[in-house]
């Protein structure tokens, strides 16, 4: 990008894709480096802290499983916020953000499901259990895939944006269900233990790597999200240029 980047004076300036691209170009390297550092620290801590006296080494799966699960929900919340942005404020980048987040959300959800499954086999003796938490996360995964399919099915990005925004907001109902499923129904999956009233129920020995990994995953998400938004903007520009090229060809003939 050789063109000068217009200065950002107010929040709404971010709606300009060119401004956003410039911002991305400046922020992403820092984000990427910070992500790599946090992962280095987080993975080091994850493998050097003691194993659980009951669970043994398998407890280390937690350091990937729990952040991935958090991210799967955070990503949907970001998509829901973007959907609101599309429908209420008609923010031009909101639907780009939602579209870019969907595959990431699906990826993190899949990671959470897989790691949970790997953890579940030694702990519960089964790869999968139709318990409330697992089922609702699985439904979330299906919703991500459905949204991806829906967004791909439209030719016109503006129409795709409105329709998928409506569906995203309807699907947001699932997020509280996932969050509180372990408390509403007494099931196999353990209730929340890190963030709860009256302090964390988890030993600091495990908490430290977990929090570092959570931060690393979050930064990873934002890095990827920024890059995905950038790609989507570029994709739309290419598409617009192609339509223009088609119209220009007619004039020459």
């Amino acid at each position: 990008m050789s063109e000068p980047i217009p200065a950002i004076k107010k929040f709404s300036d971010l709606a300009n894709p060119t401004v956003f691209l410039g911002l991305t170009a400046r922020i992403v390297p820092f984000l990427a480096v910070a992500t790599a550092l946090l992962f280095a620290v987080g993975l080091y801590l994850s493998f050097t802290t003691e194993g659980d006296y009951q669970q043994g080494e398998t407890v280390r799966i937690m350091y990937v499983h729990v952040p991935a699960a958090w991210l799967s929900m955070m990503c949907y919340s970001i998509m829901a916020a973007s959907a609101l942005g599309t429908l209420v404020w008609r923010h031009p980048l909101a639907d780009v953000s939602a579209k870019a987040a969907a595959p990431l959300g699906a990826g993190f959800t899949f990671l959470a499901l897989i790691t949970g499954s790997l953890w579940g086999k030694p702990m519960w003796g089964t790869w999968w259990e139709w318990d409330a938490r697992l089922t609702s996360v699985f439904v979330l995964f299906l919703m991500y895939l459905g949204l991806i399919a829906l967004m791909r099915a439209f030719d016109d990005p503006a129409r795709a944006a409105r329709v998928s925004a409506v569906l995203i907001l309807i699907g947001f109902v699932n997020i509280p269900i996932i969050k509180f499923s372990v408390e509403w129904w007494n099931t196999l999956h353990q209730p929340a233990s890190v963030m709860r009233m009256g302090g964390s129920a988890i030993d600091p020995e495990f908490l430290r790597p977990l929090l570092v990994m959570a931060a690393a995953f979050t930064l990873l998400f934002f890095t990827l999200h920024f890059l995905a938004i950038r790609n989507e903007i570029w994709r739309r520009r290419v598409s617009a240029q192609r339509r223009l090229a088609a119209r220009m060809a007619n004039r020459e003939a």
């Binding site: 090229a245 088609a246 060809a249 007619n250 003939a253």
Partner: protein, 214 residues
């Protein structure tokens, strides 16, 4: 090469669209089929192409190097109302598919894809998805399909619908060049194609026959 239609009769349900229709077309000749809507122009063309089997009569192909019994459809390009191109694929992918799929008929060679695009005046946009183009451009690329694989007979059903005047002229040029190279053209149209010398066949419409005829 000669294209012979002998005593063709085609029936649709109870309607006899035409009967005992015969014509002969030699290399370098064009036959323009005219007539009002519903007179059976398209049906005649589809019969010659082999897409409809006639009730009586047959379509034959004779000439040097053509084994007897070869279907006329295999020596023909058919440009119908629809373009036979996929919206999702690029123009180049569409044309390349038809080029390999159709293959050259013995006795000639098709143009390269870029050359064909040049010939219809739309070079340089073959990398675009077909769906991005306007209706007129799509129609012109459907014509480019006639050029990428060699076929001596062109069967054209309302070829210039959705085309502006300039494209109309361009297409007439293509057809003329095809005729000069010894090709055969069978076209149904309302508008004159702008060809110098053509023979005409006017379809008078069908006779209603059958159990319920008045």
């Amino acid at each position: 090469m000669r294209l012979l239609a002998e005593n063709l009769s085609v029936r649709r349900g109870d309607d006899l669209l035409f009967s005992n229709l015969s014509f002969e077309l030699a290399a370098g000749e064009a036959l323009v089929v005219t007539g009002r809507n519903g007179s059976g122009k398209s049906t005649l063309l589809r019969t010659v192409a082999g897409l409809i089997s006639p009730e009586t009569g047959r379509v034959r192909l004779t000439g040097a190097g053509i084994e007897s019994g070869r279907r006329a459809g295999e020596a023909s390009h058919y440009l119908g109302h629809r373009n036979a191109m996929k919206q999702e694929l690029t123009v180049r992918e569409n044309l390349a598919f038809w080029q390999t799929w159709l293959g050259d008929f013995p006795g000639g060679r098709g143009l390269d894809i870029e050359e064909a695009a040049e010939a219809i005046g739309l070079s340089g946009i073959t990398h675009l998805p077909f769906g991005y183009l306007s209706a007129g451009q799509q129609r012109r690329f459907a014509m480019a399909k006639l050029l990428v694989a060699h076929r001596p007979i062109w069967i054209l059903d309302e070829p210039t619908a959705a085309l502006d005047f300039a494209a109309d002229r361009l297409f007439a040029g293509l057809v003329t060049r095809h005729l000069e190279a010894g090709g055969l053209v069978l076209a149904a149209t309302h508008q004159p194609l702008g060809l110098a010398e053509t023979r005409q066949l006017e379809m008078k419409g069908f006779r209603y026959e059958g159990d319920y005829a008045a």
